[in-house]
Symmetry: C2
Subunit: 328 residues, 2 copies
């Protein structure tokens, strides 16, 4: 049974108000402060955060709701968010939705029950366009994905531009029959596909794209079909790290050489993409900046709810490696 502020007050011979002031930053004489601090030592007192939150009406907690923490993009973003949050004396509640709208709804409700100060959220496409994201009772910052202006802040990658960079690079290297696989559950997959298609059109090239579940096995199946077909593409673009892994496995398993049999490029500079041979050409996202920026936007929004919603867009960085070496 933990000791309460009352026992500390008794031990120090002061009122609970004085103890509370020592804990916070109220005005307390040096003499009493010393006595209270001593009493805290002796009793081993630990403030009860639930009580503090209830009374002060400040939860000092932010929510972080993503699809899957095992996705390296979210792993890194979560570290950035958590570091910044704990630094500021806030707690983080992390939830994984697995791209499941029901889980999303459940966790949004949980965020309300926790009375979170704010939420950093990577929604599915369905939820991204919800009009009530700004009426949850706390500010929301979207990361990675955002629908048409829903009136909330967002931190995003310039997906269309990044896709175009990949396409331009591939065309430059002599590839023409380029296929693309994209995640079907997020606006991000959609944007990357649109950017891909637009860039291909600019080059006067036809393109073939597929929307699939954003998981490695789905990509392996999907790319496998392409590789086995008579009119195999000569290059493939994968819209995230998981899909890239699946595509890589499909090629590897069939003994299709990279880039001789098929060139391969994608999103997310996961550690393994550099270390396989050949290395994979990828778009690197500034994951730490994205996490930190999301926190900053949240903090600014908390300071001033009035400012109109901002969208911060980061450029991707093209890392050229052996998997897209020139065709000739």
């Amino acid at each position: 049974m933990p000791v309460s502020i009352k026992e500390v007050a008794r031990e120090a011979g002061v009122s609970v108000a004085t103890v509370s002031r020592v804990l916070g930053k109220g005005p307390v004489s040096d003499a009493l402060r010393a006595r209270v601090e001593r009493a805290i030592e002796i009793t081993g007192y630990r403030p009860n955060l639930s009580a503090r939150r209830l009374r002060s009406r400040r939860s000092q907690t932010i929510g972080l709701v993503v699809s899957d923490i095992r996705n390296s993009f979210f792993t890194s973003v979560s570290r950035a968010v958590e570091d910044a949050a704990y630094e500021a004396g806030w707690r983080v509640i992390l939830c994984n939705t697995d791209e499941n709208p029901d889980k999303e709804a459940m966790y949004l409700r949980l965020m309300q029950e926790e009375r979170v100060t704010g939420l950093i959220f990577a929604p599915t496409r369905d939820t991204a366009s919800r009009q009530d994201l700004d009426a949850l009772g706390f500010p929301v910052v979207l990361i990675d994905r955002a629908g048409p202006a829903t009136g909330v802040d967002a931190v995003l990658l310039d997906n269309a531009r990044a896709s175009a960079m990949l396409v331009d690079h591939l065309v430059d290297a002599g590839y023409r029959r380029i296929g693309g696989i994209f995640g079907k559950t997020s606006t991000t997959g959609q944007e990357r596909r649109d950017g891909f298609a637009a860039a291909m059109a600019l080059h006067g090239l036809p393109c073939e794209t597929k929307f699939i579940l954003p998981q490695a096995p789905a990509a392996e199946d999907s790319v496998g079909v392409w590789l086995d077909s008579a009119d195999r593409p000569d290059a493939i673009v994968a819209s995230n790290g998981q899909l890239l892994l699946g595509a890589f496995r499909a090629a590897r398993r069939r003994g299709v050489a990279l880039p001789g049999g098929v060139a391969l490029a994608g999103f997310d500079n996961e550690g393994w993409t550099e270390v396989v041979s050949p290395g994979l050409t990828v778009i690197e996202q500034p994951v730490l900046d994205i996490g930190r920026t999301a926190m900053s936007l949240l903090v600014e929004r908390l300071a001033d709810a009035g400012i109109s919603p901002r969208k911060v867009v980061f450029p991707g960085r093209l890392l050229i490696r052996g998997s897209t070496a020139g065709k000739r």
Copy 2:
């Protein structure tokens, strides 16, 4: 300003106690229950979890304190823990200590202030031997690392046995001059080294081992020195995924062929280890089982504080790949 249980009661024309009973599992007539549920709908009521926790003295929260969520072992364990926790209606607070004892102490204090129901904890070597881990005010289950019996439950890998499996396999394949790098901050690194040394001794072989920071760059430097030296080992064992990555990079960067120039094996079946060429021989840990078992031990401990501390030890699984192909 969120609505409280009071307003729901007024809307439904009942007492707050009845509303509370509908929320929980108290006995309420169907008629009143329906009215209350309707009132909850109308008002958009969300229970305040801080108030509930304060009053009920049950935080319904468990802590998960690990060194770094970006370490794939902990990423996977955390998913297992979180899934099990949310399933049971509990919240999870995740903290990263970066192998820093000061941060560990700070987060242990935070866990007390949160009045967590229980804690799943991967301590550094310094903290693992603290005698007061069972006096924090809540049960602790150690994962991945544990000191000499500290009187708390633990879920571990059979590190000595796993190291021996690697050594036996390498010796079997014809390697004799085998070096090992091990994490210096954890008991796990220590145990794996001891198991390694013991197995080498059984084979009558001398061994050279290094304790280093459990991070890829440190491993790259360390292994680089070996590879550049005149008496280069013919095989290297790395005691976790990060160290394995660093070792792999060191070999790759110097153009040292695997396994011709040096054989390489290690711990943690991270995705990339299968996908590089040659694939890397590794000890796979049952990460999901470890996470789930930690939760089970915690739940059982909460049900009965009396049972004496248990240590659940899982075997590792040796996955043989090209990086340790036979020497001749």
